[in-house]
Subunit: 157 residues, 2 copies
């Protein structure tokens, strides 16, 4: 659908130091994306994009990801209403990773019901072998059963 052009990757200098957009997708045709809240800076989620999802996001200003488990593009918020409106798109030095700064309609991004998908922390730096995660968000923002109904849970074992 989109006519956005990705340049051919010609040199390290072009990729790192120029203003040309020449993204690198991995052998599966995807690249990792990190999404942060524009206002708080909090990391909301980490996902993937293929070329089409990336072009749609650039063109439309709402976030499209590529689902590795479902093998298809999804428009974040299509089911839940929790659309991510793009405020800024950044690309990294070797152009194989994208950082999105977004405004989240509804204030939550996690299918479990939390604001951020990263609602638990891992204690570190001690000598324990048994790790006990800590909940950093104490309450869910929404009830996933009400928002998603019977839609299959995206978490795979």
């Amino acid at each position: 659908m989109s006519h956005i052009i990705f340049e051919k990757r010609k040199s390290v200098e072009q990729v790192e130091e120029s203003t040309e957009l020449a993204p690198k997708f991995d052998q599966s045709g995807i690249l990792p994306v990190v999404t942060t809240d524009f206002y708080t800076g909090e990391v909301l989620m980490q996902g993937f994009m293929n070329a089409e999802a990336f072009k749609k996001t650039i063109k439309l200003g709402e976030v499209f990801y590529y689902s590795r488990s479902r093998n298809k593009i999804w428009h974040k918020g299509q089911t839940s209403g929790l659309i991510q409106k793009v405020k800024e798109i950044r690309i990294d030095d070797d152009q194989d990773s994208v950082w999105l700064r977004v405004k989240v309609v509804g204030g939550a991004s996690c299918h479990v019901g939390y604001r951020s998908c990263f609602y638990r922390s891992i204690p570190f730096g001690d000598n324990k072998s048994k790790i006990v995660l800590q909940f950093e968000e104490k309450e869910k923002v929404f009830d996933p059963k009400k928002v998603y109904g019977d839609a299959p849970n995206p978490t795979k074992l």
Copy 2:
């Protein structure tokens, strides 16, 4: 080296709602990691970890990544001195992605010399097919030639 235990993945509820650490590595044995500056919230870089790099990071409180191009673990800052000291480790809902909040010794994380690897932005939402990246950092923090010398550039075409 590390005796940290990763639990077996038994159920969606265990993975999403419990305090057990049961990370999921992909078919290559890695998971994506996003690293932000603890003080500014800025995304510094995006990398990968295998199980050993993840355990070392948890145990030692300094960041170890897994290089896909070199097929080995690297201790960030070992060459440059730009060590990343862990302040917080978060894991996401389905435990296949990690968020690290770090303090960066030397104040820069990017091998090109910038503070963040994401020093360029992508204009979006217009109807142009030709994208011109914008530099969001105007000056390099360090001279990569002085810091890395003749070490091979990690950027691959």
